[in-house]
């Protein structure tokens, strides 16, 4: 890792991220500490897990520890033409070891969501990851594309299984479902391509346009193309990729869906997309798009990167003058290094050991 990359990582802070959201007009929003359980009971389809942490409040009402922030925000949407909010909240979700508190930050844009808003949200998602690391990728998909293609090959339970096979990039299962349902060879090849192909927007969109078979696929291509064009206009260096096998949460999302990844982390750290379905289900009019960054994974990333107690161990002896040691500490800090000064460095982890009086090259 270069010194510049280290500095990028070290300057990342939540307040800087919130500042970024504010600079594009996203007001900070606090949701209630607890929610009525009923909110989640009525919208189970939109939750990733059926299990919700509940408790009985002093007035006897059943409350829940929030498993999702977006539902709370949508519930409070009053129908103004455009509502742009950002949040930093904890959510509570189960894993194999029980419920976990997960810190999350993100933003939502509700109402008259047009192409500019879609590109702006995607650009902000890219900028959020770029604040954590230069080594990020933003994968895009469109939920109008593969489901419309897969429907030409299989329907009902077989259709669902086919989508799952594409999602897992399971080529042998795609082949066997296509053969079982008598899908033509060209359609099978197209489905295999959607599962396996991965690359920059331009070549991917070109190939996608060639395989359009119906109106939904055509609209999905055009939508994705407009969003990419706008995003690159905002942020030319955006690390965008297309992976059409991303089809998580078909109840929740519609249209654009995206996942952000940081090199060195085992799972995506950012999830986002269009979720008009949720607004409709909650009796609201309008469109919606947003994303969330899972900050617990960010801590994981820092643990991975923070393998050193300091960049430099500055070792000095009993005979050295305190002034000389202090001057050396400040000089090294001035060069951008973190410094740990002490007489004995045993048990410490550092990139370089420097004896008092030695010089360190700036590019180290």
């Amino acid at each position: 890792m270069t010194k510049e990359q280290r500095e990028n990582k070290e300057t990342f802070s939540l307040s800087a991220l919130r500042g970024l959201f504010r600079s594009y007009g996203y007001a900070e929003y606090r949701v209630n500490r607890f929610e009525d359980y009923e909110l989640y009971a009525r919208n189970r389809n939109f939750l990733r897990s059926d299990r919700i942490l509940t408790f009985t409040d002093v007035d006897g009402s059943l409350k829940a520890m929030r498993p999702d922030v977006t539902l709370s925000i949508v519930r409070n949407y009053t129908g103004i033409p455009l509502w742009k909010v950002s949040y930093t909240e904890n959510i509570y979700r189960p894993d194999e070891n029980g419920f976990r508190q997960i810190p999350q930050t993100g933003l939502e844009c509700l109402g008259d969501v047009d192409d500019v808003m879609q590109s702006e949200v995607l650009m902000l998602a890219c900028r959020s990851l770029a604040m954590i690391s230069d080594g990020y990728l933003m994968d895009l998909s469109h939920l109008g594309f593969v489901p419309a293609l897969a429907a030409e090959a299989a329907k009902g339970e077989q259709g669902k299984l086919l989508l799952e096979a594409v999602r897992q990039k399971n080529t042998s299962l795609i082949r066997s479902i296509c053969q079982e349902n008598g899908a033509p060879e060209k359609l099978q090849q197209d489905l295999l391509w959607t599962a396996q192909a991965y690359g920059g927007p331009r070549p991917m969109l070109e190939r996608m346009r060639q395989m359009v078979r119906n109106r939904e696929m055509e609209e999905a291509c055009a939508d994705l193309e407009r969003i990419v064009k706008g995003t690159v206009c905002f942020l030319p260096e955006a690390a965008l990729r297309i992976d059409l096998s991303i089809m998580d949460d078909l109840h929740y999302y519609n249209g654009l869906i995206f996942r952000g990844m940081i090199q060195g982390l085992p799972a995506p750290i950012l999830y986002g997309g269009r979720y008009d379905n949720l607004l409709t289900a909650m009796g609201k009019e309008g469109k919606a798009i947003g994303f969330a960054v899972y900050l617990d994974l960010l801590n994981e990333y820092r643990r991975e990167q923070d393998k050193y107690d300091a960049d430099v161990l500055l070792q000095y002896g009993d005979g050295d003058s305190p002034e000389a040691v202090i001057r050396a500490i400040e000089a090294l800090r001035g060069q951008g290094f973190s410094v740990r000064a002490q007489k004995d460095g045993e048990g410490l982890r550092f990139r370089k050991k420097v004896l008092l009086g030695e010089e360190v090259q700036k590019d180290e």
Binding site: L137, Q168, N170, Y198, R241, P266
Partner: protein, 215 residues
């Protein structure tokens, strides 16, 4: 820039040894895997492949959590654990079946929950739920065949390769739940950051498996 190392988790035992041979035929092997030493991590600097031996049931966890970029795992484990990984190829090795088995003279009495001993509780629940059969899962970690013999369970759900162990213990396969084979899996983020190498490996492994089948 030099190519990134690929970390591959292989299941200890016969299946892993066969998978190591396929990797070698595909050009992504690690000759040191042929040594019968106790070393768990083996590297081939020429093709920048690092292989490590893990307990078969743990392979998917290593891949899902990113400790390994790729791994070889039985489809029984994938069905049971549903890890968030990509399933890139069916290697066509380690062929066996997930079966419900019981004593030869056993008949299902529908007036009580069926007691099922297994290492695969999720698979067993899903299978019997489809049949509308209420079951009491008894989770065991080994010697599953013992459970019906000692009256601990009515039937078992387990992997059956030749059926010899069942037969020697007075049991017979009652129904086949699903065929099982070894799969090549990839971590979802590694797949993206090392796309060219991972897909090259996946395609080469699939081709090597095809050649073996044809041969």
């Amino acid at each position: 820039m030099s190519e990134q190392w690929l970390n591959i988790a292989l299941p200890k035992g016969r299946l892993g040894e066969e998978a190591a041979r396929i990797l070698e035929q595909a050009g992504f092997g690690c000759p040191k895997l042929r040594d019968n030493g106790r070393k768990l991590v083996l590297e081939n600097p020429e093709n920048r492949v690092r292989c490590f031996w893990v307990k078969p049931a743990d392979t998917a966890i290593y891949v899902e959590r990113g400790a390994a970029d790729l791994g070889i795992v039985g489809s029984d484990i994938l069905t049971e654990c549903e890890p968030e990984v990509y399933e890139l190829a069916d290697l066509g090795i380690g062929l066996c079946a997930m079966c419900a088995a019981g004593p030869a003279d056993w008949t299902d009495r529908q007036d009580r929950p069926l007691r099922v001993a297994t290492k695969f509780p999720r698979t067993a629940r899903a299978y019997f739920a489809k049949q509308g059969r209420d079951i009491d899962v008894i989770r065991l970690s080994g010697s599953i065949e013992l459970a019906p013999i000692l009256g601990l369970s009515d039937v078992i759900v387990d992997i059956v390769e030749t059926g010899k162990t069942l037969k020697e213990n007075g049991l017979v396969p009652l129904e086949t739940i699903m065929p099982v084979s070894a799969r090549l899996i990839a971590n979802k983020v590694s797949y993206k950051f090392a796309y060219e190498r991972v897909t090259a490996l996946g395609n080469a492994v699939a081709a090597a498996c095809g050649r073996r089948e044809a041969g």
